[in-house]
Homo-oligomer: 194 residues x 3
Amino acid sequence: MSKERQVLNKENLGITPGLPLQASQGGIEELRADIQRLMDMEAIRQLKYAYFRCVDTANLEELATLFHDDVTVHFIGGSYEWKVQGKRDYVNNIGAAFSTEAVGQHNAHHPEIQMHSETEATAIWYLEDSMWILNHNARTRGTALYWDRYLKVDGKWLIKDTRYERIYEINDQLTTRPNLSSHYLGAHGGEPQF
Amino acid sequence: MSKERQVLNKENLGITPGLPLQASQGGIEELRADIQRLMDMEAIRQLKYAYFRCVDTANLEELATLFHDDVTVHFIGGSYEWKVQGKRDYVNNIGAAFSTEAVGQHNAHHPEIQMHSETEATAIWYLEDSMWILNHNARTRGTALYWDRYLKVDGKWLIKDTRYERIYEINDQLTTRPNLSSHYLGAHGGEPQF
Amino acid sequence: MSKERQVLNKENLGITPGLPLQASQGGIEELRADIQRLMDMEAIRQLKYAYFRCVDTANLEELATLFHDDVTVHFIGGSYEWKVQGKRDYVNNIGAAFSTEAVGQHNAHHPEIQMHSETEATAIWYLEDSMWILNHNARTRGTALYWDRYLKVDGKWLIKDTRYERIYEINDQLTTRPNLSSHYLGAHGGEPQF
């Protein structure tokens, strides 16, 4: 485990202040833009929420609607590093990981969204996740800070860049299989690749 | 554990797109309606948040203010299925489950709210929960997708229909009692029924 | 463990209804105030989110920007009670606790924000947390209800009062060190004090 870690503050993550959470002093057109900005923040939250719902249920069809074609992915875990470029590879990678032997729980908390224009935004999120790979008796769990960039294309917000680094990660080798009484991916996950 | 599971996508859950997150092109009355819609979404989130706070603290008095009289409940867990009709039975069932022998943690993440009119909305939520039944040395934990319907009645949003199915559920038989240094339900839960 | 616990309902927490989530019937100035109120709620959420991000990454510099100079802190855990007055002591206490021997995970769910004026608000939050103190082989985890008061000073929302009581707390003495493959505080936490 490396002790060399960049400081995860806003400056290093490239997070700059967005448009202020301050109602315009202007007239009806300016207020309309303010309302749109609040709606855009809601749409961005729902975009990320749909992402995690689709990941943990291996819903690749809906997942593919959430990414920009040129999405950039860079996740630095404790036991892995994941770099992907482009929607097709990203969806394929998720499809391979979320197999019938996987149990995934990925929850994103604490959205800190910055709106930079009518079509550009960033956000920091606080991920909590657990992932079992049943045929390897392995469980990985931990937390991470995400920092994302979103673009609005043809009226729809999309994930353009997504990165995370861990706050902590714990890897457990399990001696017994978890006593699963329900396992959605067991019915609807992809074919295990390894 | 059944391998027969419906696919938990929006189509199967009956979740259709609500009013778009798009500011009106109209005048002041249309913008007022947009603002009200954003406020309604906030009220619906707070409704669900109050629900889980009241459940885990056995606050049945406030809980009863959150449901429509004709609320429909259908929860499909791994080791249980729960169907309830009507506010009185729902509150009574929660009161029985959240006893002095229970420790409950129920957190709803990722609200995907769709507004269908000024008085109708749906939402998908991603539940994470842990429930200990101390006198049975049992712990059940897992996640689920909720899909709810809400109605605004006399100016107040209420839970009209609530359903969930598990993404996963793990049932553990505990060999030792958890080392509880704080246990709110131990002081304020109901009488254990079993 | 005391069985004497105050009932954690809104009345006992001093949480009264804020301004209603009801769009004004007035003109453009009233709608501007409504929009500002929605933006203020977003700013308060982001304030609390930044707090937990800074705590778990020992980011004391940003943390100090989030509190009112006269912040009041009162946390009642199962195995501890924490009373602090003033920003300097609060930041110093967090700095001492989040050392290189700590792993912290603090997530605040379910914000129930009440706006009382243009510069005053309260909120209830549902905390879930886990805290390892590695050199003591100790892990504390549980949930709690927070009730906070916020003030807007010079255009910025600040935490003025923050309190919590536990719903449950479990204290585990660990027999083995967790198998950490990533540990941000190990690189960037403070000097252990005990």
